[in-house]
Amino acid sequence: MTPRAESSKETAPSGRGVPPSQRVVVIGAGIVGNSVAYHLCRLGQTDVTLLDKGPLPNPGGSTGHASNFIFPVDHSKEMTLLTLESMRQYKDRGVFIESGGIEIARTEERMQEFTRRMASACSWGIEPVSLLHPEQVSELVPFIDQRLIRGGFYTPGAGVVDSLRAATMMREEAANDGLTVAANTEVLGIDVEGGRVRRVRTTRGDIETEHVVIACGAWSPRLAAMAGASIPLTPMVHQMIDIGPAPRFANAKGMIEYPIVRDMDTNMYERQEGTNLEIGSYAHRPIALDADEIPSIEEAALTPTELPFTQADFDPQMEIALELMPEIVGDETVGVKYAINGVLSVTYDGMPLLGETAEVPGLWSAAAIWIKEGPGAGKTIAELMVHHESEIDAYESNIARAYACQRTKAHIRARASEGFNKMYGIVHPSEQWESDRGVRLAPFFERERALEAVFFEAAGWERPHWYASNAPLLEEYGERVARREAEWESRWWSPIINAEHLAMRDRAAMIDLTAFAIFDIVGPAALDVAQHVAMRQVNVAIGRVVYTPLLTPSGGFKQDLTIMRLADDHFRVVTGGAYGMSDLKWLQAHLPPDGSAQIHDQTNAWCTLGLWGPRARDILSSLTDDDVSHEGFPFARCRWIEVDSLQVLASRISYVGDLGWELYVPIEQGARLWDVIAEAGAPHGIVPAGIGVYGTTGRLEKCYRAYGFELEADYNVVEAGMAWGKVKDEDFVGKEAHVRHREEEPAALLCALTVDDHTSSAGIKRYMLGGEPILTSDGDPVVDRRGRRSYVTSAGAGPSLGKHILMAYLPPQYAVVGEQLSVQYMGERYQVSVQTNDSTPVFDPENARVRS
């Protein structure tokens, strides 16, 4: 169109200013921002403005160019739930085309991975899915060269969405309910005053506001920085091309006639739309960008997130696609009509960034979300803003989870680049990152390295998983240590873990627990804060240690942790490293506004060494004059003792089921603590033991629950078998719901099961790793009355029992000791039996060892 001198650059609500004040400002009008705004309106929040720098309906972010297809099956439960909710919303709006999708295998290893996908589909309730022979793939996708493939994993429910249309519909509906929309409105600043968000400054004026949601995709880090916060993602390039018109597609009746093909082993996908075939890739070299490298709308040749295509990176993918689909891709008359380096958002751990930012109250992140999660993530954020909890427990996506070292550009780039080529990878549940390791080192690190520790990463810490120097224990324990024949289960595992476990049960073990997150709640109101967040009574004598759940408002699990009362006005909270920063955020949100209680993060000030086993007292008493007898230092107590020249905070609790202590010293004294314990322990046969014992074998024999495995917001305390004692009189978060749960018949009960027969049809003993579906003995899925499937929440060896232990929530009719069920693993079913249906441990059910 001819440029006209008098023309205006404005489109939607042109020329007008923005409202001077709003409850919420949502920045970014892609699928995520529109979804957040829509769901806020649905929850009664209509005092909302949605801004975008770009024009509508396509402001120029990745919603406008993304490939828009959805495969629901994922090994991650949280991702699956976000995806299923998003699909439901797309379908409700009529913008979902169910094309079906086939993941194809070129290798036997991939076919085995598909049996795992079958299992995950069953665990998360996605049906139907099936494994296909190459001929069956060919019937569905006749232009594929079936000679190249071993088979396929078919999800008939996969499909393609129109995310721009969905976003527009959401915006228009919300606008009818009162949402204000301002396109072509650039954010110039986000002001923080008095420690929280106060104002958004835009090219059309300032908006005073209490909440700001950043839903700006790859630009999000730039916006967060305006408020002094971080959204730890990196923009990355995903290449795709469109070729057409293909003669075979000329007579296609609908827009999409063929299932989407994911060529898993080459990290590529191909999908027909209209007369074209789209080819996309995650196989090229990882190309990470800075948010500042994304051009402005005016400068961009296409849109800002459709960067110039770099052909050389895509050449190998063209060869692969041509080989797989020669009829279409090899056709000389079919042209490459569109080719881009699309920009998408990638995080250091592959999960989205949802929730209130760690740094600035009132500043929310709705970032690192792809089309398949958009509407579900929008709903989740809106619920978190309004109700402080969400229907989908998105704790793995909580933006607050990231530690400072995980927010650095170097770390994000390293991990995002490493993860990029694993997008379609066969990723072992225990698989470790290779890049940017060695960032957080315990004071024990050099000693551990000398002992040939095999380090796994936990919250950025290097933590021994087992010690190769303990190999002689294998000889000592001989047959009692089961070997694993299948490569998959022996990957990221060693029989040494089980041997370390047995040595701990026989003698003693020292375990590095420095990855714990440690917070001190102090001040006159410290008790009120601790009491308000903790389910159990924490108004206890000084020197008591309380193990307690933290509940969500609906009475689900927010966390389980221990609290030591160190003084009247001083509570020390110790929680697992994985979600330590999320827990800190939760605690901070419950502080009184008058400053009468404060939280100090002591994580990097203290190191922790666990000392457990029947000889633990002998070892400790040889180093101290303090009374560490059972009478003098009972279970669930903590106190300062002198160990050699060190002042040690000793806490007599155990997550492994043996007598012993967690020993805390200032981090610079950790090496000395290690040395004196090792030296004093030597005559008693102490061994260093890794997290394989602490997190799996020791824990599972005692049926101790773990947050993120057994404990999630979707399950309550009664279901988890943790409703011991009476409900405390004081108010606490989730109390009302918890009281109600105690009066209800639980929908499921957490049970421990053991595997009756490990032998596969090939005659090999197989060991489940967690996540597998529990089936009835007839092979049907087990579903509770709330529609939740039973699946293995944790799995691992119980070396003292000589059994493989599985934890799972079962509906009451199956949660019966002795009940026989089965578990689906790698395409076969194995018989399992219920051992306990409450918190009674399968090892030492009387807890005699812990209390000895």
Binding site: A5, A301, Q311
Partner: protein, 251 residues
């Protein structure tokens, strides 16, 4: 017949052009690269003529090492081989560019019958190189061509002029500069792309002649960039749309 098509690597710009700090070039920080639409038609024409009459086609560029990307793009639609006269990153003036091309052409053992250029480059727009090449080689030259036909070794070229067409008939070898609209260039196929990767590129580094034209700085005229006018909303916009269509002579 043997055809040489000459192209130039230029930035693929968006609505707003940003200059480098010294204002002597376009900032290409966010940009991809391409050749001009005229040159795309020249390449397409070369491929079609060879398809019809046999022979072979060659693409030539004077440009930095990265310009190989444009040579591969042109070969992807069917041009057989490439000649790359590799320069440093400095922009060469038309005289130096033409001299380098002439030297390269003189070295070719099998002479070209037809030289196709874009009417002007997409960035500098000096309109000089093809004419300088024709002059140096003593060849006839027709510019601004929108139709080419070959029969019995004779070329027939059509040039659009005010109110009609000029038609030139000339013998080969000849230099022709073409304009967008000459043909509808094809999209490269995937096999074409992959073949282009393996086609030969003959590299050489020509000596740079002392530039006699110096570009001092670029200036962005005010009011450039895409502009959008909202004609109205809903049915009320219809009369304004009709008005525009009338203005364009479409109704």
């Amino acid at each position: 017949m043997n055809i040489l098509v000459c192209v130039k690597r230029v930035p693929l710009t968006g609505g707003k052009i940003v200059l480098t700090d010294d204002a002597r070039a376009i900032s290409t920080r966010h940009l991809g690269f391409t050749i001009s639409p005229h040159e795309e038609c020249g390449a397409e024409e070369a491929v079609r003529l060879v398809e019809q009459h046999g022979g072979s086609s060659t693409v030539l560029t004077v440009g930095p090492p990265e310009a190989e990307e444009q040579l591969r793009d042109v070969m992807a639609i069917g041009v057989d081989r490439a000649v790359h006269l590799v320069t440093d990153d400095e922009e060469w003036d038309p005289q130096a560019t033409a001299a380098a091309i002439v030297d390269a052409i003189r070295e070719v053992p099998e002479p070209y019958d037809l030289f196709l250029f874009g009417n002007e480059s997409a960035d500098a727009g000096n309109y000089q190189v093809p004419i300088r090449v024709a002059h140096a080689l003593g060849l006839p030259c027709v510019t601004g061509v929108k139709g080419i036909a070959v029969s019995d070794g004779q070329l027939r070229c059509e040039q659009e002029v005010e109110g009609g067409r000029d038609i030139y008939e000339l013998s080969m070898p000849a230099v022709i500069t073409v304009k967008e609209g000459l043909n509808l260039p094809r999209y490269p196929s995937v096999p074409g792309r992959l073949r282009a990767k393996r086609k030969p590129v003959e590299d050489s580094t020509p000596p740079r002649r002392q530039p006699r034209l110096e570009m001092v700085r670029l200036h962005l005229p005010a009011g450039s960039g895409k502009q959008v006018e909202v004609l109205g909303h809903g049915p009320e916009a219809a009369p304004a749309v009709v008005g525009i269509l009338r203005e364009l002579g479409l109704v």
